[in-house]
Amino acid sequence: MIHKWRMRARLQSYTDGELPAASRSALAEHVAECPVCAGAVRRLAQTDHLLVQGRPMPPLLSPAVAHALLERALAEAGRHPGGPSRGWPLLAWGLTAGLVVAATGAAAWWGIRPPRDHGPASAATVLPSMIVTARTYAGEETEAYTAIRNSSQRGLAPRKRLPEDRAGEPRPPQEKSATPRPEPAAPRAPATPPGSGSGERPRRARPPRYRIAQAPGSSLCGTRSAAWWGRLTEEVEVSEAAAIALQDEIRQSAERGDLERELPDDGAPADPDAAGATREQPEGGLRLAREPEESIAGEPLERSDPMVGISEEVAVASAPQGEAVADAAPSAATSQLLVMVSGAPEPPGVTVTRSPESKSGYARAIALRQDGRGGVTWTQATVTSEEEEGPRLALVMVGAESPWW
């Protein structure tokens, strides 16, 4: 037997499926008999498995950025009608630099992080963005994180957020954290360290659970429309006692007058683009004006610590001053987020993407919305956990305008 370079190349072609059928079957017979070749094939397969597992899914390029790249490419290639063929004159660069400096200063004044300059400002870039951590409640073993991103925001690259209080592990340093990290609101049960345990752990059958996340300035489960919330809980049928209790709590809050505004009777969402609107609060809005409960239906509620470690990324709204800020600013200040994980169908008006991976405890939802100016913006939530099994469905509702998602 010749186990040299040529044989290795053949084995590689074999594992890659690049051998003709006849050669493949002949080699398969050989591999079945030869432990050296079988070992080589196994090693190749292991390497490929590792690599395939590490395959990154690129973030979705927002339509606004994609368009800006197109415009620039056309201009630089000299294909843009009326555009410069090769570069800009010095004066134009100077003006651009001045505008960038001014915009950066304005952004700093507003206390927001300035986005990178990516071409002409689009109306889509005024929508708020946020990254929010999330955890399960009443989950003794489950940790989850949720990354919310509004793709039309430049300069808000979502960063991986691992569950923070893994047993015995120090938290990674937050280099850019501008403010001290708040202490956790409640002690959490330690999660299983990654990679621990040699065998398969038995999994318990668990009922569907809520996963609730909060954005700063928001109240737990406050939504724009209680009717929408009601539909959600009914249609999604996450029929735990907690769901009922939560609805009751909202109702009781309304009765006690804790809600800042009652929802309209029909619960129908107003047109988000109607009449421009510098809304302080969304019309027909509903917001819990008090602190959330510590428990629901007797189960302790594990609140997410608002913006732990990611204070520099909170609620970015990069709207140029005076330009269509009305839709964005109130949302950025009072954005509310709810992530629910369930196996039930999504309610109308919510676009949900089921995870392509059927792995445990994974769900991703993406919500797309036309911004009324020809663009599309989207928000994505990813929920993972180590414990719960099966493909899941995450319903995402972000911001004061979320009923239109």
Partner: protein, 197 residues
Amino acid sequence: VSFLETTYSQALGRGLSCSSPFDQAGATDEQAWLAAARQGEPWALERFYHGYQPQVYALCYRLLGRAEDAEDAVQATFVRAFRALPRFRGDSAPRTWLYRIATNEALGLLRRRKPLPEWTEEIPGAPDGAGAVVERLAVRAALARLSPEHRAVLVLRLWEELSYGEIAAVLGISLSAVKMRLNRAREQFRRQYEDGA
């Protein structure tokens, strides 16, 4: 069906104005708009861009590991493509042709950029718990320590799922060179991964 395809198709299905390479109508008349793009028709160039930009962006992101660099590479790729389209004879598929340009751009960036950064962004596709995430990061770190050529051939084969022939066309090398490079790249990767583990 990839996540992006699902997302785009949902957007299209709901009547949103979202250009997509997965638009069925767009796929059928590709030859027509490709010919118009060669003539420099702005609408066709735009169609050409929207048709291939997601794939090119994904490739650049996987080669470069950073969204910002990937965007730069996409822009540079389409600048070159728009200029070269009149000379594109169609000997290879447009995607392969674009991949070749994009890979060259990305390799140029990779060679100029040392050391290679590890992925700094969220892992949007994180399908399971933190253990898998850590392992995935280790894989990417090992990949980032490879030479740009070895990294490229692995990305094209295992992440972009190109055939040997397509890889040869994209990298401009022979089939036997693809096999040899792929073999060495796998070995190098394995070594780096085990060293880092």
